[in-house]
Amino acid sequence: MASVARNLQLPLLILSVFALLGATCTAMPSQRIGGTVSVIGSWSGPEEEAFRSVVAPFEEQTGITVEYRGTRDLDGVLWEGIARGRVPDVAGLPGPGHMADFAREGALQDLTQIIDIAQYKSDTVPAFVELGTIDGRLVGVFIKATLKGLVWYNPNIYTLEEPETWAELQALGLLAARGDTELWCVALESGATSGWPATDWIEDFLLRQSGPDVYDDWVAGTLPWTSAEVRSAFEAYGEVIGDSFGDAPTVLATNFIDGGRPLFTEPPGCLFHHQGTFMTEFFRSRAGARAGEYDFFPFPPIDERFANSVTGAGDLFGVFNDTPQARALMQYLLTPEAQTLWVERGGALSVNRRVTEYPDPISRRAAEVLSSADRFRFDASDLMPETMNAAFLQGVIDYTQEPQRLDEVLESLDVTRLRAYSGDVLTQPQGPP
């Protein structure tokens, strides 16, 4: 018996060492580390406040100071930082397409050794894990998701039923509109990334008119911009602009965060506003709306074959400098605790499937719409090469200004397509949602 015990001593000792090592490797950032971690992201205003409130408990627990800087020209700032050798420790990334460029440049760290990869994959939907993976290396993680293509309205103004088709929406809108109230409010201004709300419109039309396969071909650069499908999506967007509050200069000059304001004015300027889940934050902060004064329905189907398809996006984060503070922050941002803080602020959907409690009926319903959709497609412009994305932004602005130039705009985009997808990618500023 004693010899058995002696024989077991060494294996037990080895196992204990392994257990200790394992415990060290997976430790959550609960101990005090101190120091600072620099973070750059696209959030400002209420979104920045939300981020700061999310990281506040982290700063308290770890003693690490999070130095955040917000910019709408995220892409330009990051490329400039890479060129000068001065990059932030952690950064929000403009989109999967741009993340891939940063990764191929060797600027992004492999997160496999930085976060608990098993837990992340277990908690996150495969589509998002896939989008953050380049050549088998996980270089970007999503810390929150956005459901796009929602039609927002003021239930005190629009009191009719939820339309089941796009045609029904237009018919009901005409019934509900009174006086000078227009059908839509559209706002495209967003600094260096102006025009992105219009790209969302076109993506939603294309997905629902022509289906996910055509959408995928378009994203992949195999569908010409001059095709009947893309043209049809642009024309549908053009009709929306024709039914919009204010004229084209108003649409182009209004910042997207103020896009929903006319829903709550007296008399209302418009009935509907097309935006993602994050918009509730701006309804409250910019338009003074209160809970109950805004609600949504999903973008209605146009072609029944492609019903129950949704578009969405997410906030991608990557690590440029692998420091203990950066590791701790990344680990923290993915925890259910941090994710819960995001969703409690409203307007954000968690990418962590362990987070199931949403603070209000709107967030809860948005999460249901997202998870029950048969087909999910990521924001197309975020997946396109930088050059293509930049040209798309310029193209929608040009088309909004001068709708009669549609042929010219589409032909120009097609010329860019041939260049952008052949690897001739420029590092120009572009836009996250």
Binding site: L15, F18, A19, L21, G22, A23, C25, T26, T112, I117, A118, K121, S122, V125, P126, A127, V129, E130, T133, D135, G136, L138, A145, P212, D213, D216, V310, G312, R353, L370, S371, A373, D374, R375, F376
Partner: protein, 403 residues
């Protein structure tokens, strides 16, 4: 009950099972094509594979291994080779199913179903190591179903042990599924076990590669020791084995031991698959050109009688229709004479058409050496016995010599 036993014994279980396995392979491939076409043939989210070509090659390979396996297992069912080929083909087809199901799981914004996750885990963990083991046994057992000696057989067991260790390491990897990097591993090892995984992987890989190399060497030795006829039968197989070892071992090392970008990994996989495709082709050459197992006679008959049936059937149907029209045109009514005449014409055409087909097939698939019957062939043994018997009969029946 007493009568039932001989009946059961007379059922060709080997052929039935081989046919069932081939059908399962073909059916699974049909399902794969249906699933993939529903996804508009988009490349699935698999590590190392970015385009569509690899999947097409894998489908053709599954079919080639399945068909060759069925041929061997149904004719020489006691030889393990046919079953090994069938297993490789079916496993490849099933693995493709898991791949396309995973792709379908990426369509929606929710976790993949647990059943798909488990299927993907099995495909990602088991498929490649098991295929290597099956190929190692093919190398060791070709062509007579027996290893050169017990000592050589140890290579097979080394490969089995190595594959088990690799599967242990990959199957418990906390990083997720190796072939499907976007999926979490449902059996991720607890932290206490994780440090053991690299060691298990290294040891397993060493054993697996050693097994493959030794099995490959056994084929070379077998070729060297073979006599002229057997050497001709083994030549193509030996080349295929060496080619597959040279391409497969670097790929296995790249897959399990090295960190490699997808483009390089895909190129190595493509080379390994090309080499793997050569094996059933080499086996077919050995069977058809060098009369291995004497299956060429069966194939020869199949190549003659299947087209013969189709040609005569077509001629008969067309002939009856034509004759009926002629009768209607001449007499104004249909007649049974049309059927009788057509049947007579077709019956008279049977022998010329068969002879023509036979000579065509003989020209195309004529064995290189008519004298060189397979050594590993029941028919060969039977022929030898019949020849001996004929000689005895000749001797005993021939009139006594007069001096």
């Amino acid at each position: 009950m007493i009568h039932a036993l001989p009946r059961l014994a007379s059922v060709p279980w080997g052929r039935l099972l081989a046919g069932t396995l081939l059908l399962a392979t073909v059916g699974t491939l049909a399902l794969d094509i249906a699933l993939w076409s529903g996804q508009r043939f988009r490349p699935p989210p698999v590590s190392f594979i970015q385009g569509q070509a690899i999947y097409v090659v894998e489908m053709l390979m599954a079919l080639a291994y399945g068909a060759m396996g069925w041929l061997l297992a149904s004719r020489v069912s006691r030889n393990a080779l046919g079953w090994l080929f069938l297993a490789i083909g079916l496993a490849m087809a099933v693995q493709l199913t898991s791949t396309f199901l995973v792709q379908a799981g990426h369509e929606a914004f929710r976790p993949v179903e647990q059943s798909v996750l488990l299927f993907a885990w099995a495909g990602s963990t088991l498929h490649l190591p098991l295929t290597v083991v099956l190929l190692v046994f093919v190398f060791l057992l070709f062509p007579d179903g027996k290893p050169l000696s017990r000592r050589w057989a140890r290579a097979g067991w080394a490969a089995v042990g190595g594959a088990a260790l690799v599967m242990f390491s990959v199957g418990l990897a906390p990083e997720g599924l190796q072939w499907f990097p976007s999926l979490a591993n449902p059996f991720a090892a607890p932290p206490v076990v994780r440090p053991l995984l690299p060691a298990a992987s290294l040891l397993g890989l060493t054993l697996l590669v050693a097994g493959a190399l030794v099995a490959s060497a056994s084929m070379a030795v077998r070729y060297q020791r073979a006599e002229a006829v057997e050497r001709a039968q083994l030549r193509w197989i030996a080349i295929a084995v060496l080619f597959l070892t040279a391409a497969g071992v670097p790929f296995i090392l790249a897959r399990y031991a090295l960190s490699m970008d997808y483009a390089s990994g895909e190129m190595m996989l493509a080379i390994a698959l090309a080499a793997g495709s050569f094996l059933p082709v080499a086996a077919a050459v050995a069977v058809l050109r060098h009369r291995l197992y004497d299956i060429d006679l069966i194939l020869n008959r199949a190549f003659v009688y299947i087209p013969l049936t189709a040609i005569l059937g077509g001629l008969y149907t067309g002939g009856v229709a034509l004759a009926q029209r002629l009768f209607v045109a001449v007499t104004g009514d249909r007649s049974d004479a049309a059927i009788v005449i057509t049947t007579l014409v077709i019956a008279s055409a049977f022998t010329p058409v068969r002879n023509w087909l036979q000579s065509f097939v003989d020209r195309r698939f004529k064995p290189v050496n008519q004298e060189g019957h397979a050594r590993h062939s029941p028919l060969h043994e039977l022929n030898e016995r019949v020849a001996a018997l004929e000689q005895r009969l000749d001797t005993s029946l021939s009139p006594p010599k007069r001096d």
